[in-house]
């Protein structure tokens, strides 16, 4: 186990083998199902067809896809709007306390997803904490139905993924050269203009990374819509779940999965391009 950098080594081989056997092969297998017909009793009949992809575009399912995209996009925008000021405030805190603040901002992200979602059932329930607080404050009307609504689903998504967005935006803010902002001020730009023309464009890669992350995980989510939406809001994740565990239409489920992966790849490529573009820009500005 010495490291001879000039000779190829096989240290990565067992891990690579594991990932190929249990991730790449299963994914290729399930995606290949999308090109076959559904068997009469469930399962797969090996007759080539493109019908499953056509069904993804069928108005009924396209509507669910678009609806999921809308919910995921709303969650993404809200998360960015909360995370940006938070990341900004952390980056302006004293140097010593920044890692601690960041650690505690990210800590909830690593705790159990189901439990974090359940906490919102406790808060939003008709018999829940918020309704009890309102009653205690003198509200006498009907308890508010906040659970099992689209807003509840969005709140749950934002709550669960916010820490990652804070982390992504903070990482670009902390690398920002403060002299650029000073230069902008010295040249007569006001604070708002400095923020909009200098700080914001330079931190867009972090915003994009965090945003893509929230969007991809939200659109494929099935736990949050099931728990906080009470199953009333079909999202792509739930649809895939149903095809595999209840409707028993694996080929169609596979086609939906393919659409999810395609969405993810396109967004990641766009994000990579945005990052490359922004880093090119910042280099240009630094050399001026």
């Amino acid at each position: 186990m010495s490291f001879n950098a000039t000779r190829p080594n096989l240290l990565a081989a067992p891990g690579v083998a594991w990932l190929v056997a249990f991730m790449v092969v299963p994914c290729v297998l399930v995606l290949s199902y999308a090109f076959f017909q559904r068997g009469v009793w469930g399962g797969v009949e090996y007759t080539f067809t493109l019908e499953n992809f056509a069904r993804v575009l069928d108005p009924l399912y396209a509507k669910i896809f678009l609806n999921s995209a809308r919910i995921a996009l709303t969650a993404t925008v809200v998360a960015i709007l909360i995370a940006y000021p938070a990341a900004y405030a952390i980056s302006r805190a004293p140097r010593m306390s920044q890692p601690i603040l960041l650690f505690f901002a990210v800590l909830p992200f690593w705790s159990n997803y189901l439990i974090r979602t359940y906490a919102w059932i406790v808060l939003l329930n008709r018999e829940g904490l918020i309704n009890n607080l309102l009653r205690w404050l003198g509200y006498t009307g009907e308890p508010l139905s906040m659970l099992y609504t689209e807003s509840a689903v969005i709140t749950g998504l934002v709550y669960n993924y916010l820490p990652f967005v804070i982390l992504a935006i903070y990482s670009t803010l902390s690398r920002l050269n403060p002299e650029l902002m000073e230069a902008s001020r010295d040249l007569g730009a006001g604070p708002v203009r400095t923020f909009l023309r200098v700080t914001l464009p330079l931190t867009l890669p972090g915003v994009a990374a965090g945003g893509v992350f929230v969007f991809v995980l939200s659109i494929g989510n099935f736990v949050t819509p099931a728990l906080l939406g009470g199953g009333r809001f079909q999202m792509v994740g739930n649809l895939v779940y149903d095809q595999f565990l209840t409707a028993n239409d694996w080929p169609f489920g596979a086609a939906l999965g393919a659409a999810l992966i395609l969405t993810m790849i396109v967004l990641l490529l766009l994000q990579a391009r945005a990052t490359a573009h922004a880093s090119g820009e910042s280099k240009g500005e630094a050399s001026q």
Binding site: N9, L31, P108, V122, A254
Partner: protein, 263 residues
Amino acid sequence: MNASFSGKLPGRIVLLLVFGFLYLPIAVLVLLSFNDSGLPTSWSGFSVRWYGALLANTDILRAAGNTLIVAVFATVISTVLGTLMALGMETRRRKSNGLEALAFAPMVIPDIVLAVALLTFFSRLGLAMGLHTIVISHVIFDLAFVCSVVRARLKHFDFSIVEASRDLGASGWTTFWRVTFPVLLPSIVAGALLAFTLSVDEFIIAFFTAGAGRSSITLPMQIYSMIRFGITPEVNALATIVMGVSATALLISQWLNREQQVP
């Protein structure tokens, strides 16, 4: 943003609001777990009876046992494979894009897609599903995280000390255990703790690869079936314990990672 934003007070208010948003829901759960009535309707006195109820619930105890078995096996396998993969990737002469993509994919692929892919794969193979298939599946993302934590450490690793050890006559094996391994140990343990936490908390993939029957239900699957239809007081106590364990593991992991920044 305006000039006053960078001043102390507005920044503090923002942080207070965001940390309140992040931690209040969790704090409410912890507080409720000690509420005698177990319900958010009223505070009826401090009590640990819901923790007692957990110990009497055989379903939960079995699920906790299953989770522990899965997490321990997945952590051990992924720590070994992930560390080797990190060493292999960092000692390559040229960066391989294919290898990078392979190591990155488990962290970004939607859970639901990996879950149905594994379900399809295992049933196509005719493999009976149970705790072993959950372990196989968890190793996929666990090893990717271990690999990325160890690689971060290796980026600052001075390979000339390895050469020095070789020049002084130590064998490759001795060099690894006496030189490389001690330097990497904190990051390996940090990666292992992260893998353990991820495995303990993972729900979707376990749900799809556990097979039918109740014998291989894990803790998150048990929690899901309990919270599906509203508030169950026992869950508050269970949630408090699970979050306590994760937070402790992460604090230790973070502390180990902190140490390594000063070589």
